[in-house]
């Protein structure tokens, strides 16, 4: 009782209702997803009534399981293909752009910098419409479907890479690079031998983040996809979730979740290694990142 009273009269106590609110929020935001994952293992057809555990919808069902249904498998392969190549193209483009914009001064540089930031603020539907109309009417050599989707994904991913890499460039500062040049390295050699190794973790994090955002993207993919053959996992979820879904769809969503979380986890890990000995945590870095 006295303990309760001292707790109550402590002017710096943690307000209990705030803690309760926080944990309710976390439960509300995460538990539905966990339930959706659980239903991927349902033994019955229902996605709302639990009928026991099975791997039926993963590979046991000969027609409609994730492993045997060709449309689900295709969605998975399309998503991975797209994410992989987006990662390979967008990361070098973004790293070079970040390096260039960090040192290049002048009006053109400022305009380019602004241009790079706009895609981050733009609603996806606007960007999707823009890209759809331009591939439909002007760049007709590039067919809608996977080629157009790849170009679209690279376009929105480049800005993420620039933001991530530039943040690191600012903390590294110009000193080491200057030192390399004073010791006789050419500017390109200074970038190659000094900057790029220092940027390594940030570049790795960029690769992972681009992979995750590409896997997660729905709107740009949906606007640029031609037909069923270029469906990705999010498009597949969108088109079947209200029509004829089975728990195999939950299994598909679970696979996507695992890929994203794996990629993001690796990115956080890379940034944490990089920051060893510095203040703050990698998670906080992510939180204050202007995504």
């Amino acid at each position: 009782m006295t303990r309760l009273r001292t707790w109550w009269s402590n002017p710096w106590r943690r307000p209990a209702f705030l803690a309760t609110g926080y944990w309710l929020y976390v439960i509300w935001s995460l538990v539905p997803v966990l339930i959706a994952v659980q239903f991927a293992f349902n033994s019955g057809r229902s996605r709302s009534t639990w009928q026991g555990f099975s791997l039926r919808w993963w590979f046991e069902d000969p027609d409609r399981s994730l492993w045997h249904d060709p449309s689900l498998r295709e969605a998975m392969l399309n998503s991975l293909w797209l994410a992989f190549f987006t990662m390979l193209i967008a990361t070098p483009l973004g790293v070079a752009l970040a390096l260039g914009l960090a040192r290049w001064r002048g009006r053109t540089a400022r305009a380019s910098n602004l241009l790079m930031l706009i895609p981050l603020a733009m609603p996806e539907i606007v960007m999707g419409t823009m890209l759809f109309l331009v591939f439909d009417n002007l760049y007709t050599a590039i067919p809608l479907g996977r080629p157009a989707m790849l170009l679209g994904h690279v376009t929105f991913s480049v800005s993420y890479v620039v933001i991530l890499v530039r943040g690191r460039l600012l903390t590294i500062g110009p000193d080491l690079e200057d030192a390399a040049q004073d010791l006789g390295a050419s500017p390109i050699a200074a970038i190659r031998t000094v900057l790029l190794p220092l940027l390594g973790p940030a570049i790795f994090a960029s690769l992972m983040i681009v992979f995750a955002t590409s896997i997660d993207d729905f709107v740009i993919s949906a606007f640029l996809s031609a037909d069923a053959s270029s469906q990705t996992i999010p498009i597949k979820i969108y088109s079947t979730v209200r029509v004829a879904p089975t728990p195999a769809l939950n299994a598909l969503a679970t696979v996507m979740l695992l890929f994203t979380l794996l990629a993001v986890g690796l990115a956080v890990l890379a940034l944490r290694v990089f920051r060893r000995g510095e203040k703050g945590s990698a998670v906080e870095d992510f939180a204050t990142l202007d995504l």
């Binding site: 307000p15 539905p32 997803v33 070079a96 609603p123 606007f223 209200r242 969503a253």
Partner: protein, 312 residues
């Protein structure tokens, strides 16, 4: 000695001259990419909005030359937005987004505040948990709720079990409540994070000063923390409202009825279902103008706030 300094400086200057071409050169591929796949497409939307339609196939015939721009369709769409049936869609979108933002504030503020003020040693974990939804696919989160909101789903089980409703409610048939709920659920992470960043920047000593001067926790919050986080709330509102305004899949998945259709649904309809691509492009132009105005307001506000901060 002096000669050596000059030597070193000269050696430093020479590579710098060569660098001048290096940095733009590095930026060039990225800038070219953005020009080809961002600036040109942006202009393409204008060209389609002010262009014509192929009478047989209904394909867009973009007018790339601004001198040939034809504003009839754009004017017609704008007129329907202001006076006729599209006005309802716009108003509905504003109401949904407004209510959703308000709910985001009610739910998100305490969460962001708790982590920034009382996170303590577990701060990383607490923050990680509110960051997680960011990396869970939006459609998967909607899928999760579609499962829960089925007629025989857990939500109805709980509601009938508690005798809140006597029979299961079909939540997924054209209900505005469900759509707004979906918007809140989907976008609230975008609200919490910028707010957290803003609350985290508030100088602790200001809060302690207020407490030392005898104000209680509630008054300290209302008169110190809340006003100091105004800028963060504005940022959070803008960052959340922008994607919400262009959302079409939430309404589609959680309701699918024209009674709840938003601007995004109308755009999607014009572009893909009806063959009125120039009308769709016109709607996109109108939406972009609205959002740019909101962005401009936000930037002016932040600019003013920063200048006031520097003055004081």
């Amino acid at each position: 000695m002096g000669q050596r300094v000059v030597d070193v400086q000269r050696r430093r200057l020479k590579p710098r001259d060569r660098t001048r071409a290096l940095w733009p050169g590095l930026a060039l591929p990225g800038v070219a990419w953005l020009l080809a796949f961002f600036v040109v497409p942006f202009y393409g939307v204008l060209a389609v909005a002010f262009g014509g339609l192929d009478p047989i196939f209904g394909n867009a015939v973009p007018a790339w030359n601004p001198l040939e721009w034809d504003t009839t369709v754009f004017g017609d769409v704008l007129d329907r937005v202001v006076n006729a049936e599209l006005r309802e869609v716009y108003l509905r979108t504003f109401v949904y987004v407004g209510v959703a933002l308000f709910l985001c504030f009610l739910i998100g503020y305490p969460v962001a505040y708790y982590v920034s003020r009382f996170g303590g040693r577990r701060r990383g974990l607490l923050l990680g948990l509110i960051l997680a939804p960011f990396w869970i696919n939006y459609l998967m989160r909607m899928l999760a709720w579609i499962n829960l909101l089925q007629e025989d789903g857990y939500v109805n089980d709980i509601l009938t079990g508690l005798h809140v409703t006597s029979s299961p409610v079909n939540w997924l048939e054209g209900r505005a409540v469900t759509v707004v709920f979906g918007l809140v659920y989907g976008y609230i992470p975008f609200f919490v994070l910028p707010l957290f960043a803003a609350l985290d920047r508030i100088d602790r000593s200001v809060i302690e000063a207020s407490r030392d001067l005898g104000m209680g926790p509630l008054r300290t919050f209302l008169r110190v923390t809340l006003p100091l986080s105004k800028q963060g709330m504005l940022a959070a509102a803008v960052i959340t409202a922008l994607p919400m305004m262009g959302d079409y899949y939430t309404a589609d998945l959680l309701s699918g009825s024209p009674r709840t259709s938003m601007i995004g649904n109308q755009i999607e309809f014009f572009l893909f279902e009806g063959s009125q691509k120039n009308a769709g492009a016109s709607l996109v132009v109108i939406l972009s103008i609205l959002l740019m105005a909101a962005m401009a307001y936000y930037l002016v506000q932040t600019d003013r706030a920063t200048r006031e901060l520097h003055r004081s």
